[in-house]
């Protein structure tokens, strides 16, 4: 096993130091390390983060290997700085048995680029009818702890209650896709001004908020852990804030796209929710309509550190044409006010995690009419860049929301640990000064449905280490 000496690198934003990686762990941390047998990486200007952990990834295997495989998704993850991903259960067949979760787990081991932790379905076939064999999945080689019908909501309140209770036996957690199905029949995009203009059936914010409100009460009632997937509305943030204040054991995630894009992109208008946030007082784009709510709320209070203004996104990006399904996603892109509330909640800790909801789709499932397109966006290879664009170089916050917290929630003990002597060497090196233009064809994912095509994003993953072995070096996957 090769040893690696990373010199002059900032660990989670601290003053530069050296890191020695040997035998799968971080062997030493400190300035002026020497290790003649080690391969040396010059870390000048780079930031070392605990390897990123994604709580919400769709790897599509088994069933839709044309869109993604465990291997191609693992490669995308490693290139995005991830060392562990939680693979959602909506495969074909559905990951609702020990056999399927073990298959996904084994494929992940064989690919060997990230730890693939399968998520099990809550209900048989994601059909919402009866519980899948949750215990069998928990006891399997895949050691499943997170259960989710993601893509579908566990809408039946009794079934949700039972699921929350049942998984207590093995410290499991239910990750809910909060969407009241009757309120979203035929829904195509956020219900609001833009859906009215475009004549697309609205997906009202209340359909998410009503389920989260119900679920936090259920979780409180039975004393179980609840995780809320891809929170997308300001109202949901309010419900979560109140629940946490009461001590409900609820965690929540937000996606990069819900932190950056608004429903206006569906109409073909260039309306990012203000790219520059952290401490910058001025809109990057100079267009007044972009910015205000986000800027107003995300002021300096959040990080407690005074960082320079976030790297700005360029103002020359414009979205694809109107009705381009690359922006179709579930839950849908919301308003600038929602984006502002989500950013504030992320800074405050009401939202614990940035999770990608990486959702690869084959070209034919996106190059079609909006209503017929499948919802979802790629995310693994761009998540850190979006976080940098949105949060600025708040490394503590980024490490917490993209690595430590998700590792804790998923129970991945060897992940989410800052580089320190004796700690498993799961880490990633980021060049925050780099800029890159996202070209869909250059992504490692088998699919091309990134909403950030031709956008210039800050930050680049230079290297990723999984248990001391590089999965990415010099920005390229090792295999």
């Amino acid at each position: 096993m090769t040893a690696y000496l990373i010199t002059n690198v900032s660990v989670v934003g601290a003053a530069p130091t050296d890191l020695l990686i040997r035998d799968g762990v971080v062997a030493e941390v400190g300035p002026g390390l020497a290790a003649p047998d080690a391969a040396v990486l010059d870390g000048t200007g780079l930031v070392a983060l605990p390897g990123l952990v994604d709580l919400h990834t769709h790897l599509r295997e088994p069933g839709r290997e044309d869109a993604e495989t465990v291997e191609s998704g693992s490669r995308a993850a490693a290139l995005g700085g991830y060392t562990a991903v939680c693979a959602m259960a909506n495969t074909s067949p559905v990951a609702d048995t020990a056999g399927v979760v073990e298959q996904v787990w084994r494929l992940g081991r064989e690919a060997g680029l990230v730890d693939v932790q399968p998520i099990g379905a809550v209900t048989v076939g994601l059909a919402g009818g009866r519980l899948a064999e949750l215990g069998a999945m928990a006891d399997s080689a895949a050691r499943v702890r997170i259960f989710s019908d993601d893509g579908h909501c566990v809408a039946d309140p009794l079934l949700m209650r039972r699921a929350l209770e049942y998984v207590k036996a093995f410290d499991g957690i239910i990750a809910q896709h909060a969407e009241e199905p009757r309120l979203t029949e035929g829904a195509q995009m956020h219900e609001g001004e833009v859906s009215t203009r475009l004549g697309l059936t609205g997906w009202p914010a209340v359909a998410e908020e009503a389920i989260i409100a119900r679920d936090v009460l259920l979780a409180e009632h039975v004393g179980s852990r609840l995780h809320v997937c891809h929170v997308s509305t300001a109202g949901s943030v309010e419900v979560l804030r109140q629940a946490r204040a009461r001590g409900v054991r609820v965690t929540a995630e937000v996606t990069p796209h819900h932190l950056l894009l608004t429903d206006e992109v569906v109409s073909g208008r260039s309306e990012l929710a203000s790219p520059a946030l952290a401490n910058s007082g001025s809109s990057v784009s100079g267009r007044s309509e972009l910015a205000s709510p986000a800027l107003a709320n995300s002021g300096s209070s959040v990080s407690g550190r005074s960082e320079p203004a976030s790297p700005a996104l360029p103002n020359n990006w414009s979205p694809a044409g109107a009705y381009d399904p690359v922006y179709k996603v579930n839950p849908p892109l919301r308003t600038a006010a929602d984006v502002a509330a989500l950013r504030a909640a992320l800074a405050e800790g009401v939202i614990d995690v940035i999770a990608t909801d990486h959702a690869p789709h084959a070209v034919e499932d996106k190059e079609c009419e909006w209503a017929y397109a499948r919802p979802g966006m790629l995310g693994l290879e761009t998540a850190l860049s979006i976080a940098l664009a949105v949060l600025g170089p708040q490394w503590e916050l980024i490490a917490e929301r993209m690595s430590r917290a998700p590792a804790r929630i998923a129970g991945l003990d060897s992940h989410g640990l800052d580089p320190a002597p004796g700690v498993p060497a799961n880490l990633t090196l980021v060049d925050p000064a780099a800029r890159r233009v996202i070209e869909p064809a250059e992504l490692a994912s088998r699919s091309r449905n990134t909403p950030y095509a031709r956008m210039t994003l800050p930050g680049r993953i230079v290297a990723t280490f999984l248990r001391g072995e590089p999965t990415v070096l010099d920005g390229k996957a090792v295999r």
């Binding site: 001004e193 859906s195 475009l198 609205g202 109107a322 009705y323 909006w370 209503a371």
Partner: protein
């Protein structure tokens, strides 16, 4: 002139007026013994219809033929579309056949916008999902102008299922551009959220038809599908008709000069009674005739036809 006509918002007042003026010239052709102009000879217009809509399709077909264009009718039924061909592949096929204009009717909102990305010719939106139907709005504006002599300052009530109506959206956009004042009337369940902000800031909303009627120059009744009551948009067809249907007594609340419009097809007895539909105030048959003239004008201007 613009290249495509996808939305009422594509037209500013000058462009819209140019279409209406051109349509007035086209209308004179209909009175001739030989109802044909050579303007689009050698050009190909494809009617690409993914939804049954006999009246719109034959209106476009008549318009194209009166301009001497070659017309290809491509209906989703019985074509390769039924075999699952994608919109993009269909677009590339039409492109290869040299379509100069594609007139598209589609159940999915935004399908014409997608099509416009994939073909070199002009795309005319002949109704997309619950989004827009801009030539309907143009023919409605034409009809109002012919009957009432102007558009600026007109007060227009659009009544019914605004939520699902492409006619309503296009009318709000176009009429506002041309200086008319639109009030949308219907049960709150069928008025989309933030409609004024979404389409035109001056747009009003009312839930009470009787209050609105005495103050309008035009009342446009929208088709309401009985099936909507199954989704609880309203309790019953009878209650809908009672509250939002236009019958004789309601019609008599209108000012003397006011006209009654309907884009068709009508549900007689639901949103409009036969007494109203067949009254002299009704412009329903004129609207059909005007549809051909307006669509001639649109095709002519989009395709940059030769002199009339």
């Amino acid at each position: 002139m613009i290249r495509h006509l996808l939305s009422g918002a594509d037209l500013d007042a000058a462009a819209a007026t140019q279409i209406l003026d051109t349509a007035a010239e086209m209308a004179t052709v209909a009175g001739r013994e030989v109802k044909k102009l050579p303007a689009l000879r050698g050009r190909t217009v494809v009617n690409l219809f993914y939804e049954d809509s006999t009246r719109t399709r034959i209106s476009f077909e008549a318009a194209a033929k009166r301009l001497s264009a070659d017309v290809i009718n491509f209906s989703a039924k019985g074509s390769s579309v039924a075999k699952g061909e994608s919109l993009k592949d269909t677009a590339l096929t039409l492109q290869a056949m040299g379509a100069d204009a594609v007139v598209v009717r589609h159940p999915a909102s935004g399908a014409p916008h997608r099509l416009a990305d994939w073909v070199a010719g002009s795309v005319v939106n002949a109704g997309d999902g619950t989004h827009e139907h801009p030539t309907q709005a143009l023919l409605d504006a034409y009809t109002m102008r012919s009957r009432l002599g102007r558009l600026a300052g007109l007060r227009v009530a659009v009544v019914g299922d605004v939520l699902h109506s492409r006619v309503a959206r296009s009318n709000v956009l176009l009429l506002s551009t041309l200086g008319a004042k639109v009030t949308l009337v219907g049960p709150p369940t069928l008025i989309p959220v933030d409609i004024a902000a979404a389409l035109a800031p001056g747009t009003d909303v009312s839930y009470d038809l009787d209050v609105v009627l005495p103050d309008v120059d035009v009342v446009m009744m929208l088709r309401v599908q009985r099936e909507r009551m199954n989704d609880s948009y309203f309790p019953s067809a009878r209650e809908y008709a009672r509250r939002y249907g236009l019958d004789g007594p309601r019609m008599r609340r209108l000012p003397e000069h006011a006209i009654v419009m309907h884009p068709g097809p009508m549900n007689r007895g639901m949103e409009i009674t036969p007494e109203v539909a067949d009254s002299p105030r009704s412009t329903i048959v004129e609207q059909v005739a005007n549809g051909v003239s307006v669509r001639m004008a649109v095709l002519y201007l989009l395709l940059g036809g030769n002199k009339l």
